[in-house]
Amino acid sequence: MSFIPFLFLTDLFPFMRFGMFAETIQSTAQQEKFTVTVLSPDGSNQSLGDRQIGLDDSHLNYLSRIYYYNHQLDFFAFHLQKTGLIKPNEQLAIIHKKLVNHQWKQDTLLTK
């Protein structure tokens, strides 16, 4: 089966096309979650996924993870503002949660 490529969609390097859940969890980097949150001027906040934008949480989690680790969250926020998904007076925050010893620890990163 290594030689039957899953057409067009692969990231070839480790041939991990069928490797979902196959990796044992050994580092906290594998036990993390990202939530894209919109902070309103009145102090309330709402997950972007809850705004029914048509994109599921797992997609948002992946996108925010990519831009979090590549230090491009401001670009991410700028673009979301441009599309109108978040209003100019709202601020985007990324909540980064890590599971350490069965306890969630979180830090919040505010974009400009």
Binding site: M1, S2, F3, I4, F6, L7, F8, L9, T10, D11, L12, F13, P14, F15, M16, R17, F18, G19, M20, F21, A22, E23, T24, I25, Q26, S27, A29, Q31, K33, I53, G54, L55, S58, H59, Y62, L63, R65, I66, Y67, Y69, N70, F76, H79, L80, T83, L85, L99, H102
Partner: protein, 371 residues
């Protein structure tokens, strides 16, 4: 059995040894090169050459998340697969005479199978209903993803087939082709043309979906089925007999079984013995925070047993094409597995195409009547 001449046997042995040494040296060179890449990259994070990114696009993000050992183990994964494949080839080669006989007989038995024409409409309707259940909402997904267009980064063949995020008009075109071909494959003659368009449309749907860094194998068996099924329809339309050759249905069955088997094999390749000791399922249940999953996570021994059960289930699918009686055991178990994965881990949905394509096991295949 006729004895092979001594010189010929020696020649084969020498060739095998030289081949193994070449593979061994290439493997050593590969590991040295990859280890060098990893070590070079670590201190300043700029050492990765572009070819590594080409084959491993996720590195862009993963390099910030993991240590050197993680990447060295990833490089080893390539080696494990090559070693496995080479050894398998040598084992098969050693038993080639017996295996060839067996293979030829199995091949004839499988290609000799036919299916009655009366079942074709049922298979077609069920298969394309599965596809419709997956893609009926595609345009909404496309419109949402269009908002994230600048973040579109295709990988692999996506670079060739869809190098940019399509404009809205093209998204509509893909959607109309997809839905239109599903309808026409059921209603119109010349079904194989609509079926081929549906397969192409579905591949483009996935290219768009997976162009944002999130790849999964949720649609793989359905894709295999959709790519092969037009051949079956083509053959059915050409023939006027009451039965139709079922080699393509058998091929789809094999693809489904091999996909499961490969999922199991991946667990052994990637995690090895750790799969049996690390209680992976418990960790995943805690991360996904589903109420039932969290409840189950408090029983580590049960979680470990379930992990083991999943591995056995996935590997067992390899035997399904040979033992049809396993259908009654493996298919319900597979259905339960996917439904549990949805409830406990939020993986997939209420309808999962992995069990949707079980339909290919439901219709009787019979050997061709001798004339």
């Amino acid at each position: 059995m006729k004895k092979q001449p001594f010189i010929r046997q020696s020649f084969i042995l020498a060739f095998q040894s030289i081949f193994l040494w070449i593979v061994y040296l290439l493997a050593m060179h590969y590991m040295a090169a990859m280890t060098h890449q990893v070590i070079l990259a670590s201190p300043n994070d700029k050492g990765w050459t572009s070819w590594v990114y080409e084959f491993y696009p996720r590195l862009q993000t993963e390099k910030w998340r993991f240590s050197e050992s993680f990447f060295i183990s990833k490089a080893e994964q390539i080696l494990i697969r090559i070693t496995f494949s080479v050894q398998l080839v040598f084992i098969l080669h050693s038993f080639r005479t017996i295996l060839l006989e067996k293979l030829v007989s199995v091949y004839h038995r499988l290609t000799d199978l036919t299916i009655h024409r009366k079942f074709i409409p049922y298979i077609t309707v069920l298969l394309y209903t599965c596809l419709l259940l997956v893609v009926y909402n595609a345009m909404l997904e496309f419109e949402a993803l269009a908002l994230f267009g600048p973040f579109y980064k295709p990988t692999g063949m996506g670079k060739l087939l869809l190098p940019f995020f399509p404009p809205l008009l093209m998204l509509w075109f893909i959607y109309v082709v997809l839905i239109g071909s599903i309808i026409t494959v059921v209603l119109l003659p010349k079904k194989w043309i609509s079926a081929s368009l549906a397969a192409i449309g579905f591949i483009y749907y996935q290219l768009i979906l997976f162009g944002f860094g999130k790849y999964d194998h949720g649609y793989s068996t359905l894709t295999y089925a959709l790519l092969i099924y037009p051949f079956f329809l083509w053959e059915a339309e050409r023939s006027k007999e009451s039965t139709v050759p079922a080699w393509s249905i058998v091929l789809i069955q094999w693809m489904i079984c091999l996909s499961y088997f490969y999922c199991g094999l991946e667990k052994i390749f990637i995690s090895g013995m750790q799969w049996f000791t690390s209680n992976n399922l418990q960790q995943h249940l805690l991360i996904h925070e589903k109420p039932l999953g969290l409840a189950l996570a408090s029983y580590p021994v049960l979680c470990q047993c379930l992990s083991f059960g999943v591995l056995i289930l996935q590997l067992s699918f390899l035997f399904l094409p040979f033992r049809k009686s396993l259908v009654c055991l493996l298919l319900p178990a597979g259905f339960l597995f996917h439904t549990a994965a949805w409830i406990l881990l939020d993986a997939g949905g209420l309808f999962n195409p992995w069990w949707g394509v079980y339909l290919f096991f439901l219709f009787p295949l019979q050997p061709q009547e001798t004339k």
